[in-house]
């Protein structure tokens, strides 16, 4: 028996050695320009991570000779014990010279990895390490001005709601999520006051946070339950701020039960798919163009550490080659509302409407932007609280 097992062991060792040897031959071929993508959620989540994955595919298409390697579900709940520096080490061994980390959650790990690999370039999406001066020279930040997308979402929601109750399904609380929720509210308030000519006091805008970018059973609040709760308590439009599609899924169920409800997903251009009768549209990211700029700079040696906040291309916000932010109106949005939305987008682009113009107050009544002033980029980025008129927590209790 022991002898047999020993023989088996020796044979399997030989097999391994053979595989190793042949693999070595294969990898000796010419090497493409490799960039690595770390995705916080599944690459096919119909949300945040899929938008990034498609962005990577876009780079491969636009830059022949470039090759993406990616790993998804990079979060401590799905991949217990796996750290960002560990994944970066692996991608660098596989030849990556540029790493894109797509989540706020990867901020610390990305900075640590960037310090360990000074020759590799890093893009941390949605971060502000360059602004705060914590970033080493090989680290840049990239984000899209989703503020405008959220304004459009809020605008569409306000024109659709029948009782003026809008729910916002929020992820965790930080500067980014606060300002995005606030912008949805600003868009809704604008439509409510200026298109519908109603009293803003009658508009109810409730933000409920789940605690992370997507559902982690036992750790976060369950977004499905939060969405159900919204619809069961009279909110008829739910705007999603999380990475995944629970809001539309639940809205669809409620619609089938005979309720007049709608939802607005987030992040990914195809997020409305299969929910035509409830989806009012989706504000989405189009990471391709922003990625290409950075990847080109990295591969041509013209890298600069910078903080980039790319806006929509106002000439055509849905142009896949130029606009980082887009909004596609969904089939459930009425024709009149679509018309109003189109002119709202026009006015935002021509600067006729600026929703960051004061006076704007924080939730506790203290001034955010004074009358006659307009909030600067930095002021918007670091919005410290939700705005007056919104309900929900501004920070952790």
């Amino acid at each position: 028996m022991t002898k047999k097992i020993f023989c088996g062991f020796v044979i399997s060792c030989l097999v391994f050695a053979f595989i190793l040897a042949t693999a070595g031959l294969v990898s000796a071929e010419e090497k493409p320009n490799v960039f690595g993508l770390l995705l916080v959620g599944p690459y096919n989540d119909h949300g945040w991570s899929q938008a990034h994955y498609e962005g990577g595919k876009y780079v491969e298409k636009m830059m022949p000779g470039s090759k993406m390697i990616y790993i998804d579900k990079v979060n401590p709940a799905d991949r217990q014990g796996v750290t960002i520096p560990q994944l970066v080490d692996d991608m660098v061994e596989k030849g990556a010279t540029l790493i894109i980390a797509n989540s706020d959650d990867m901020k610390d790990g990305t900075r640590e990895a960037a310090a360990m690999h000074p020759d590799v370039h890093f893009i941390h999406i949605s971060g502000d390490d360059v602004l705060t001066g914590k970033a080493p020279k090989n680290l840049s930040n990239l984000m899209g001005r989703m503020e405008y997308g959220k304004m459009m979402a809020g605008f569409a929601a306000a024109l659709t709601t029948q009782n003026g109750k809008i729910g916002y399904l929020g992820p965790l609380i930080n500067e980014e999520t606060r300002r995005l929720a606030a912008c949805a509210y600003l868009g809704a308030k604008y439509a409510w006051e200026n298109v519908l000519k109603k009293d803003p006091k009658q508009l109810k805008f409730q933000v409920t946070w789940i605690g992370f970018w997507f559902n982690i059973p036992g750790v976060t609040a369950d977004p499905t339950q939060v969405a159900q709760n919204f619809f069961n308590t009279g909110y008829d439009v739910v705007i999603s701020g999380i990475d995944t599609t629970e809001a539309v899924v639940v809205a669809k169920q409620k619609k089938q039960e005979g309720k007049a409800v709608w939802a607005i997903p987030y992040d990914y251009i195809g997020a409305c798919e299969g929910a035509d009768d409830v989806c009012l549209g989706v504000p989405y990211f189009n990471w391709g163009p922003g990625y290409v700029d950075f990847v080109k700079a990295a591969f041509s040696g013209k890298w600069q550490s910078k903080w980039v906040w790319l806006g929509p291309d106002w000439k055509d916000i849905n142009n896949p080659d130029t606009s980082t932010i887009g909004f596609t109106a969904g089939p459930a949005l009425s024709a009149t509302a679509q018309k109003h939305l189109a002119s709202f987008i026009n006015d935002l682009g021509s600067k006729k409407i600026n929703l960051f113009k004061g006076p704007l107050n924080y939730q506790d009544g203290s001034p955010f932007v004074k009358a006659g002033q307009t909030a600067s980029d930095k002021k918007v980025w670091y919005m410290g609280q939700l705005l007056e008129g919104m309900e929900g927590a501004s920070s952790a209790k």
Binding site: I19, P76, V82, G211
Partner: protein, 367 residues
């Protein structure tokens, strides 16, 4: 049975288990339409393919081995310390508390040392609760442990979203990262932390010595083999059970502490990374033998680190690595059950093997 025979017999068990694991995982891979050989190759290369990869394996091996060492004490006395996961977490919490106190300190190494000791104390205290529940309250340690794991997770979530939150932020990403001065030192080029490695070696040797050559080890074993008889001999089962729990919790707490200062450099809800639960498998698979523990732990650590290659290199859906790990657990438990049955049969027939007490095979190597 002499030592050599014992080791070969048990390495045979390990080999059989490993073969079963390969069989099950191959089955899963084939069903999923993936080439099993390529998958194993990538797992192998992804864990032992380079020094840096190996040191990531070691990073995962460290908490696993520490927890498994601790579990040897509780298994020895016949306790199923499922609460080890929570003991890792509370160790991490205590450790974080000390590191937070020492943010401005001029002597970071003292603070780090203090944090490791705090982790040890924290884990031990948490285990003490389960120990007292068992001995004073008559609560089965499995249920007490599971309950305490949930409580420990709750404590971390509360701290991360509450008192220890980052300013203005409420996210399960964890607390603010500690300044690099408070990180456990590591050799940067190979990502290896020598102090952590030293701690594990000390833990291994200490466990071996305590279990084998001291009165404590003897008492634990005597009580584990036959609590009533031990009581008649004047040993105190309750006291020794609590003692075993303290040892297990202490080791687990140190593991939690190293996760904070050596790996994540902050406290986050997933700080224990399931190492406690995994260590239960390590301890069982190594047949509660201290000298097999590091090797079995190494195997699990390789799998942990290497399986990340499946989605990356083979574009396998990432949930598949979860399925493979599940198959691994099933195979391990299946073989464990089979071995137990065999031992039972052999025990009845010849009485030369181990005694069966509490449904668990007792060790025969150091009689």
């Amino acid at each position: 049975m002499n030592r050599f025979e014992y080791l070969t017999r048990h390495s045979r068990h390990v080999l059989v288990t490993v073969a079963a694991v390969f069989f099950f995982t191959s089955l899963v891979l084939i069903i999923a339409g993936a080439p099993p050989l390529a998958a194993y190759y990538h797992i192998f290369k992804g864990s032992l393919g380079s020094w840096i990869k190996f040191s990531h394996v070691i990073k995962s091996w460290i908490p696993l081995t520490l927890c498994a060492c601790g579990l040897l004490f509780t298994f020895r006395i016949g306790l199923w310390n499922i609460g080890i996961e929570g003991q890792v977490m509370i160790g991490a919490v205590f450790s974080t508390a000390i590191l937070r106190l020492g943010l401005e300190s001029q002597m970071p190494s003292i603070i780090i040392l203090g944090s490791i000791i705090a982790g040890l104390v924290g884990g031990a205290l948490w285990a003490l609760i389960a120990g007292f529940l068992k001995t004073k309250g008559g609560v089965n340690e499995i249920f007490a442990g599971l309950g305490l794991n949930f409580v420990a997770q709750g404590v971390i979530l509360w701290l991360v979203f509450g008192p220890w939150k980052r300013p203005g932020v409420a996210s399960m990403s964890g607390t603010e990262v500690f300044p690099p001065a408070l990180w456990l030192s590591q050799v940067a080029s190979i990502r290896l932390s020598l102090p952590a490695l030293a701690i594990v070696c000390i833990a291994l040797i200490l466990t071996a010595l305590l279990l084998r050559y001291t009165k404590i080890g003897l008492h634990l074993k005597a009580i584990g083999n036959n609590p009533s008889a031990a009581y008649l001999f004047g040993l105190k089962p309750a006291r020794n059970m609590v003692l075993a729990m303290i040892f297990a919790g202490g080791f687990a707490g140190v593991a939690g502490s190293l996760q904070v200062s050596g790996v994540y450099h902050r406290l986050l809800p997933a700080i224990s990374s399931n190492y406690g639960y995994l260590a239960l498998l390590v301890a069982m698979l190594s047949n509660y033998n201290i000298w097999l523990v590091p090797w079995v732990a190494l195997f699990f650590a390789c799998l942990n680190v290497g399986s990340i290659q499946l989605p990356m290199a083979l574009q396998l859906d990432s949930s598949l690595s979860g399925v493979i790990q599940g198959a691994l657990v099933l195979a391990t438990l299946g073989i464990h059950g089979w071995r137990r049955r065999r031992a039972e049969v052999r025990g009845q027939k010849t009485e030369d093997g181990g005694h069966m007490i509490g449904g668990r095979e007792q060790k025969t190597e150091d009689r």
